[in-house]
């Protein structure tokens, strides 16, 4: 398969330490959308990490006397179908959703990048084996496979994380391989090899840094995809277990009450939507910042 979309890495010279990154940071700051998104996401992460302090109520504490209340001073976003505080559930939901997104992406990206590096760098039979495995994973219908795996395992956090990681790694493996293939015959790598530099050293010092840009971008955008996938599993009732709050499960529950108490579905949808938008803006911002050629356009 051809990887035209991402074969844009320059192979000019050995990367100088730090300065391109600092430039990139500067460019990021200048991109308003990416800047605002970064602030939003940082805020969300902080609120989620310190949920014990930021959430006004215990997210699992039911108050049967005030069920499905519209927003009020006591409950800023109202209460859910058994009288739990919506705001608190959204905050704790952020913790779970973001954790799932980041965790899965860290695992899947490390795994995929390593395999992609090995496949691309060594080529030959190793490449064939790894890339055929990637092909098989691509051919499997993603969502069906995820549902299948979770249903085979016990439905809990562990299997959701495992399943989503399993179905995500081939993307970064293929991306990384493409990057390595584009880089590995560059003059400076050939030169380094001729000078007797070890494989590990070449990979870590020369190939990886040059190929990392699209990986970082994909990592960011992938978090969004994983969060969506978890929401999809929640729709089927096989995601993270209740009463632990996740955004997907909250929206799905809200569906039942959409006619009477639309706020049950609307608020988590808004937060999930904003997070998706922010992650995408951040990804775009990173692309523009790390790949300055795009910026010259226009």
């Amino acid at each position: 398969m051809t990887d035209t979309t991402h074969s844009t890495v320059k192979s000019l010279d050995l990367p100088r330490p730090s300065s391109p990154w600092i430039d990139a940071m500067r460019r990021m700051m200048r991109n308003r959308a990416a800047f605002v998104s970064t602030i939003f996401l940082s805020g969300l992460v902080l609120v989620a990490i310190f949920a014990d302090f930021t959430a006004p109520y215990d997210p699992t504490l039911a108050d049967f006397a005030s069920i499905r209340q519209p927003p009020s001073v006591e409950h800023l976003l109202g209460t859910d179908e058994i009288g739990r505080d919506m705001l608190s559930r959204i905050i704790y939901g952020a913790r779970i959703s973001l954790f799932v997104g980041v965790f899965v992406q860290v695992v899947a990206t490390s795994f995929g990048v390593t395999l992609g590096l090995i496949a691309g760098y060594y080529g030959g039979i190793v490449d064939v084996i790894i890339m055929r495995a990637v092909d098989i994973m691509y051919a499997l219908p993603n969502f069906l496979f995820a549902v299948f795996m979770v249903s085979l395992l016990k439905p809990d956090v562990g299997s959701v994380l495992l399943t989503l990681s399993l179905s995500t790694w081939p993307f970064s493996a293929r991306l990384m391989r493409g990057q390595v293939m584009a880089t590995k015959n560059a003059d400076y790598i050939v030169a380094a090899k001729a000078l007797g530099t070890g494989d590990v050293r070449i990979i870590l010092l020369h190939i990886l840094p040059n190929a990392i840009t699209p990986i970082i971008i994909q990592f960011t955008l992938g978090i969004a995809t994983v969060i969506m996938a978890e929401a999809g599993l929640s729709f089927l009732g096989i995601g993270i277990r209740p009463p632990n709050p996740t955004w997907g499960a909250m929206i799905n529950k809200g569906r039942e009450f959409i006619r009477t108490s639309p706020h049950l579905a609307i608020y988590p949808s808004i937060v999930l939507g904003l997070t998706m938008i922010a992650l995408n803006f951040l990804g775009d911002g990173l692309r523009d910042a790390l790949d300055p050629r795009m910026k010259e356009v226009g």
């Binding site: 049967f64 439905p155 209740p242 039942e256």
Partner: protein, 521 residues
């Protein structure tokens, strides 16, 4: 000239009007009724769940049936008698009843049909209970005999059944679809489930089954009680109850069950509120505590603590919009053995905490995390929240698919704690007090075991006098309640929205009856 033109015009207009009217009359009346999944089978003897049961009532007919008040009434039988010792039943069949393929129904059809159900490899539900009391039933099921010797064909319209002991429930079992039969010539070998062309004797004939989409039936002009008014029924598969309600509101379905979450809105709606129909139902909704899967449940104090910690009134009033009524025992009202004296467990968090502390878990300390399996997450979340708030224990919820849930329940090895409903297929306490409580039964999902209860149940089952049986059933139930065998939550009822154009929709304790009385328009 002008006159002629006018005449022609009038003629044309009249023709048009007539043709439109004729067209309108030709338009068949179609009843669209949602089912949550495809039926497991269209054969009455293989009825395994509510959907196939409902289809069986429309497609098939048997010797007896249940009427709207859940009384056993003759159906294909025109007359019957019972010997004085209660052992020999003689049935005279109607002479005007035909199978859908046009052949007359004869006594031999029943003997052959029943013998087929008793072939264990068919996996028919009726293989157990009803035949246990028929002479030769157990032997045939065990493969030790070739025929059902207790059933004798006297002539084409006379059938005689001999029992091993008098049974209060034999006629009841003949009124449930699992003992209704089909003409053997219509059964496809190796395909007993009849996907293509089921043949019955009921008010509606099979037209077509598109898996995942719908099952279509049409009025049977030769039905022995007269052809049904409605021309066609479409059982539309709609897995999502939110969707089916929305489809009803948009006029795409004629009858729909109301999910409890929507009950409040529907009741208060000016239009929909007028269309609600309530029917009583014989079902207990309960939380089961599987003692073999979760050790703390073996302690009666823990079980009692759970019973005291759940506020049923609040659960039913605020979460379920009063779709149920509070349960105080296992046997629902409207069942003859119902015991109105049972007090049940009141909501008493203090008592609950004391009992849990006595059992060695003060404030829930040291109590392992519990998994609650459910098909309906709102109720489960409410119960989990109550147990967490009142007992300090953590309950996590798992939502298996229906088939998976039931599989785990029968096997006793998957769910520690579960929400489920147990529904009658006959109006007798044995449905609950025997099936759910007796040691070692597969249907005893809680793996509860108390020999005293067993002894009382056995006395009730073998009693020949109804009052004596009733007393024993009630004692057994009371003892099990004291022992907190499970957590009864509520008695449910059927709540339907019915299109105002549709009349004659009926239901008894077991659910909607056949649609032969339904009229639309």
């Amino acid at each position: 000239m002008l006159q002629r033109t006018t005449k022609v015009l009038v003629f044309v207009v009249l023709m048009l009007i007539f043709s439109i009217q004729a067209f309108a009359q030709d338009e068949p009346t179609v009843l669209r009724f949602p089912i949550t999944s495809d039926p497991a089978s269209l054969e009455p003897g293989l009825v395994k769940e509510l959907v196939s049961g409902q289809l069986a009532l429309n497609l098939h007919a048997g010797l007896f049936t249940y009427d709207i008040d859940t009384n056993v009434v003759p159906y294909l039988v025109s007359d019957y008698s019972v010997s004085d010792d209660g052992l020999v039943y003689t049935f005279t069949l109607r002479d005007d009843a035909l199978w859908h393929n046009g052949r007359s129904i004869v006594a031999e059809d029943f003997k052959l049909g029943w013998e087929r159900y008793l072939d264990a490899s068919l996996g028919a539900q009726s293989a157990g209970e009803p035949w246990e009391v028929v002479v030769g039933g157990a032997e045939l099921y065990a493969g030790e005999a070739d025929e059902l010797s207790g059933v004798e064909v006297i002539d084409d319209l006379t059938l005689q059944v001999t029992l091993t002991r008098p049974s209060l429930s034999f006629l009841q079992s003949l009124a449930t679809p699992v003992t209704w039969v089909v003409p053997l010539e219509a059964v496809v070998e190796g395909q007993p489930e009849w996907v293509d062309t089921p043949v019955g004797a009921g008010p509606f004939k099979f037209v077509e089954w598109t898996p995942n989409v719908s099952i279509v039936l049409e009025s049977n002009p030769d039905f022995f009680l007269g052809a049904p008014e409605i021309d066609r029924i479409e059982f539309v598969v709609v897995p999502d109850t939110t969707t089916s309600l929305a489809q009803y509101e948009a006029g795409e379905l004629d009858i729909v069950a109301v999910p409890p979450a929507e009950l409040e809105r529907v009741t208060n709606d000016a239009v929909l509120g007028e269309q609600i129909q309530y029917f009583t139902r014989a079902q207990i909704q309960y939380a089961g505590m599987n003692q073999s899967m979760f050790e703390p449940f073996q302690d009666v104090r823990v079980r009692q603590a759970f019973n005291y910690a759940i506020d049923r009134e609040t659960l039913i009033a605020s979460v379920l919009n009063s779709a149920w009524t509070v349960a105080t025992g296992l046997v629902p009202p409207n069942i003859p053995e119902y015991n109105p004296e049972l007090a049940g467990y009141a909501y008493d968090p203090v008592m609950a905490q004391e009992l849990l502390a006595d059992a060695g878990y003060p404030g829930g300390e040291g109590f392992p995390t519990l998994e609650l399996a459910t098909l309906s997450s709102t109720n489960a979340e409410a119960i989990a929240a109550m147990l967490n708030a009142n007992l300090g224990i953590t309950v996590e919820i798992i939502q298996p698919e229906r088939g998976d849930m039931i599989d785990g329940l029968w096997a006793h090895d998957r769910w520690q704690f579960f929400l489920f409903g147990w529904t009658a297929d006959s109006p007798s306490a044995s449905v609950w007090t025997y099936e759910m409580l007796v040691c070692g039964l597969d249907s005893n999902f809680s793996t509860y075991c108390n020999e005293e209860v067993d002894a009382l149940v056995e006395a009730a089952r073998t009693a020949t006098d109804f009052e004596e049986a009733k007393a024993n059933w009630q004692d057994a139930e009371a003892l099990a309640m004291q022992d907190a065998a499970m957590i009864p939550l509520g008695y449910s009822r059927y709540i339907y929205l019915v299109n105002p154009d549709v009349t004659g929709f009926r239901a008894n304790l077991f659910g909607p009856l056949g649609f032969e009385t339904v009229v639309k328009g």
